[in-house]
């Protein structure tokens, strides 16, 4: 799994590629919480186009990001969900809780 950040004015986009599982979900969690709580970026976007698989620990990291964003009054957006990632969020009944878009353009609109 690789994660990198693109920072614009009021937005940070995290580009994630590979599988998100127990081996690397702590890294996602740490990056998200730091961006939301410490850097206080108004809008944090997760580009998941290249994420083929996400497990429950990865979902947990996203939920923590969502909760932190709600506490901080910031927007937390996901886009580019693969069928597997979408399935996992649907199974955990979290798909409707997140702000989800298909493309980066829609996510930044």
């Amino acid at each position: 799994m690789q994660i990198s950040a693109r920072r614009m004015d009021t937005t940070t986009i995290f580009d994630v590629s590979g599988d998100i599982d127990l081996a690397n979900s702590p890294e996602i969690r740490k990056a998200l919480l730091k961006e939301i709580k410490e850097t206080k970026t108004p809008r944090v976007v997760m580009n998941l186009v290249k994420v083929r698989y996400i497990d429950s620990s990865g979902v947990a990291s996203l939920v923590e990001g969502l909760k932190a964003s709600r506490d901080a009054g910031t927007r937390f957006i996901l886009y580019g969900l693969s069928p597997a990632a979408r399935e996992v969020l649907q199974l955990s009944r979290l798909l409707k809780i997140f702000e989800v878009h298909d493309t980066e353009e829609q996510a930044l609109a």
């Binding site: 599988d19 599982d21 127990l22 081996a23 698989y53 497990d55 429950s56 620990s57 979902v59 947990a60 990291s61 939920v63 923590e64 969502l66 909760k67 069928p83 597997a84 399935e87 996992v88 199974l91 955990s92 009944r93 979290l94 809780i97």
Partner: protein, 147 residues
């Protein structure tokens, strides 16, 4: 061993191995005859079960033994053959009564692994045998209905 052996893996409780096991499960379930969604489902269940062993049975230690045994088991009425996965670990005894996934109407970070496992598999059974935890997972092939 109650079924026909398909694949046996012995590994350490290193989360870095999860992707290796997933790759094996994806291929094996496809060869076994499951559909793409079912393949994803079984792979997810095994991955979550392994994750639970690593986190909870072994408390994050990365050098503990885990065995995964995949077998073909006899069909049940109305199904095709079963794909059985037996996961064995040497952690402390699991109390099955405490193995509950959380309610899904709560928005919380954790507690989803068991839910994914139970949602994916037809059989989920926990046993303790000879000082080891044994998790039995079975998914049955669907039988095509005749018109």
């Amino acid at each position: 061993m109650s079924g026909d052996l398909l694949l046996k893996m012995e590994l350490r409780s290193d989360p870095g191995m999860l992707c290796v096991v997933r790759a094996a499960m994806e291929q094996l379930t496809d060869v076994f005859g499951f559909s793409a969604p079912e393949t994803r489902s079984v792979t997810r269940a095994v991955d979550e079960a392994l994750t639970n062993i690593m986190r909870h049975s072994y408390g994050g230690q990365v050098d503990r033994p885990i065995e995964i045994l995949c077998q073909r088991v006899p069909k049940r009425p109305g199904t095709g053959d079963g794909f059985e996965v037996l996961l064995t670990d040497r952690g402390p005894a699991v109390d099955p009564s405490k193995l509950k996934g959380r309610r899904l109407d709560e928005i919380k970070p954790g507690g989803l692994g068991l839910h994914f496992i139970r949602q994916s598999m037809d059989v989920v059974e926990f046993k303790r045998e000879q000082g080891a935890n044994l998790l039995q997972l079975v998914k049955y092939l669907k039988v095509e209905k005749r018109d």
